[in-house]
Symmetry: C2
Amino acid sequence: MYTAPTKDLFFAATELADLKGVAALPGHEEVSDELLSAILEEAGKFASEVLAPINHKGDIQGARFSDGKVTTPDGWKEAYRQFIDGGWNGLSFDTERGGQGLPWLVSAAVQEIWYAANMAFGLCPLLTQGAIEAVESHASEEQKATYLNNMVSGEWTGTMNLTEPQAGSDLAAVKTKAVKTNDHYRISGQKIFITYGDHDMTENIIHLVLARTPDAPEGVKGISLFIVPKFLQDDNGNWTIRNDVETLSIEHKLGIHGSPTAVLGYGNNGGAIGYLVGEENRGLMYMFTMMNAARHTVGVQGNAVAERAYQQAIRFAAERVQGKAIEDPMGDRVAIIEHPDVKRLLLVQKCRIEPLRALCLLTASAMDKADRHLDDEERKQAQGFIEVMIPIVKGYTTEMGLENVSLALQIHGGMGFIEETGAAQHYRDQRITPIYEGTTGIQAMDIVGRKLLRDGGVMAATVIEMIAEDLKSFSSDERIARMVNALNEATDDLQLSIAHILNLSKENPQLPAAISEPYLRLWGVLVCGWLSAKAASVAVSKMEDGDDDMFYQNKIHTAKFYFSTEMPKIKYYAGMIRTSGELIVEMNSDRFSVG
Amino acid sequence: MYTAPTKDLFFAATELADLKGVAALPGHEEVSDELLSAILEEAGKFASEVLAPINHKGDIQGARFSDGKVTTPDGWKEAYRQFIDGGWNGLSFDTERGGQGLPWLVSAAVQEIWYAANMAFGLCPLLTQGAIEAVESHASEEQKATYLNNMVSGEWTGTMNLTEPQAGSDLAAVKTKAVKTNDHYRISGQKIFITYGDHDMTENIIHLVLARTPDAPEGVKGISLFIVPKFLQDDNGNWTIRNDVETLSIEHKLGIHGSPTAVLGYGNNGGAIGYLVGEENRGLMYMFTMMNAARHTVGVQGNAVAERAYQQAIRFAAERVQGKAIEDPMGDRVAIIEHPDVKRLLLVQKCRIEPLRALCLLTASAMDKADRHLDDEERKQAQGFIEVMIPIVKGYTTEMGLENVSLALQIHGGMGFIEETGAAQHYRDQRITPIYEGTTGIQAMDIVGRKLLRDGGVMAATVIEMIAEDLKSFSSDERIARMVNALNEATDDLQLSIAHILNLSKENPQLPAAISEPYLRLWGVLVCGWLSAKAASVAVSKMEDGDDDMFYQNKIHTAKFYFSTEMPKIKYYAGMIRTSGELIVEMNSDRFSVG
């Protein structure tokens, strides 16, 4: 069972993520509170009625592989058809290609709903979205005309083929070959971890494949990007000719069992026909342009699965009668939600999920502004904000997501360990989010390397200043003022940490890497504190205006709890940044022994 | 692959858990360094060669149920036969019953090895151990003569039947009936979550079952304990008559797939024959006497699985070549263990696992002293130490275990999410340890309720004083002195927290419950800090004596890392204890809403 948190999504989009500012961008004039509200309602309905009911069943049955073919779980094909018939696939794409042309902000809110309802299902449109962006941004007009309409409508899906057995996160090690033959290339090699690399929901699949031409330079500068359709066009213009790409197996994974993760073999019969996107040797750069969107989406996913698990935990705790209330040991048994430690477990989840939702939407809003704002300076500022936030959205949201689903399972007690209950599935599904699209370690290296050391802290300082400026607009209510004080103090801790890291980097480049993860987390706690306090500040104003909804009371209460239980981690991470780097670097690898 | 950490187990037992003191107890005169060492080597060999190789296979195949019968995975029956033939089942039991009569301290060290090698397998002897203790402590001489020898040898296994569908942690709700008929009782009802409730490894299974007689008082004071053998004795003295207990199904669980978790139906054909243990209505009290040992064992398990996952992560990180060293971007690719963030992930695990191991052994050592010390005062002090430590051993060790196996999986990147690699199994298996034998929330209520509020903090103060006293014996080396200072400061934080909780309890009994979990964790961090510093202090002395083994250098380094990254959590938890209780209690349950 899943109920889309439409009220909080609407609140976060309108009050915290500047929907109004996005609606003022050229090309988004149709966006309004009413439109957002209508879309969220419709998406929530579709998610509850179509996607959520097949989530657990799909996990049990799983995607299956036999005779070289992949079959998705029962009901997925039909749900996919309804999904694309509803126009949901092309939400954020160009109306010229058949999309709805809606901003990232709106599509991010809708994505949370899909992933919460059914993460394994949602990965299919997610991968198609990435492939569409790659083609849209870098392919020729002819290629766009050939592929885009079918991909935007969802008649065809897309995949991203990066990983090879010997090359996980290290794309410099890619070995797949591409040899030019007339107007196309012959592709050969093996790719692993290809999400929806094969399935039975559409008639064609458009693979985007990283490979090397024979004379390409070594390393990341010799990688090119190719379009490799599963089926090629015949002389009559129909897509009937099977390309030389074979599904070798699908992985047996910890979670997201409904989504097939394929091992694909290219060119076992002479070479798969592929079409170069853009220029040779620029493939990795093309991939990088999509990376922010992909990482953002995985962050949304991490929070979506956490929301789903949280809802399940609330329902379970409200129904499960067990033990007496501590203040009334002679009374009747009570639902476990009355036990203080269960309330605590729920509040911890709530106080993290809500600001993380706001962070995901606010970053999406910046993506819209960076794309479309007419003012150069505004675009630049939005881009700087995105650069700093993406590793936080990806790395921190998914790590918090892991912790949250574990708390949600814990509330179930022994029932949480039984697969039938469903809590275990969220725990398993979530485990991939801090890994794919760049592990948390890679996100941490990004925020400390590219987003701090590279420019000596200029970009980070701009974001810090932006937050400090925003705090000045908060309500002067005493409860909020206390939060603002804590945030200002936290900002000082962040700035001291930054100064310390900049110094460390002069000593030894290993040192900033060694403490990059607590640095990432420090940022995460701080920006969520900012957005949590901002939500509370808005709530105070609404209540002063006479709107005494429990929703607003909860916003203030949740923020207070956040400032009691999450914000103090800032000091903890700042301490680790100060003291742990050398101890890590000094530990030679051969000192880790077994037995 | 698994290599028993015999060196560290030996170090922890001899230097931190007072093996010498245990060997001085009456009845344990045969215990010595040499004996311990020989046992650890043998156990390690058996674990590596017999138990570890069937762990992953057993997970994939799982225990199976068909036609009312349970089949364990391939090879388990044979491994079990080797296990009992080796005399491992009766390690800590009376030599008169065929056991080895060894102290808890030794058997706890050996248990870590079993659970690390194969947790799902190890649960079978664990449950038998609990059943033996119940019979040994509370059954009649005749019952002991009838059952104990076969249970100690392992020819028969034992189970504990507490949980019912409507009664999870809440045993007051037990409904299973027991009606007296001549010299026995007729038992009827359903029990769930029965670990090894049925299997094919032995010819008989001795179920210990909680049930209610017709005229029993309500609640926990009306529960009696019964012996219900799967097979009853026939007139020739052979155990051939099937009792009226039926296996209805086994659970589909998140982890420990090799171990069957049964739903047992008693009395579907007139009533299973059961024999009362001790007196009517005292069943729960009998269970309580075994509870400390059972909870201790689960703590050992949590750390054992963490050790196994840690070893796997080290091996993977040392073999997996990926990316360049940050300080040598033009050099060759390196094993990921050279990357600072991977080292960090390993060090975090190491700095937790080692003191938790020491804590488990030290508590076992206290169990031996509480059982056998000739001095009343010493026994009493040991018992007080046990009472405070058990919720920490169970609650904190398993929670840290959860975090650790997740870090171990993370080091594998995408490969960690593929079941084949094995990291995912540890992640799944571990998830039960903070749940069964009382969830972390229940452990937290125990340490704050029974172990603090009940006596107004006397017991806790005694333990704190004992630790403070012990610190005085530490090396005066500057590095150690710094740790001692931090520990003294932490002790102040603990004492302030205790004073605060004692005050809260006067206001509202919900308040101490609301902050019981951070209170449990504060204790956990502190005692591990104490034992970590103690290990370092011993290492300093050894090095001063000229033994410059890397093992000792690592002890000092690991403790320094612990004091950089774990100890500062004390302030964090103390803050939560001060500030979060009211916010939790104020949050009425109906304020948690969905959607």
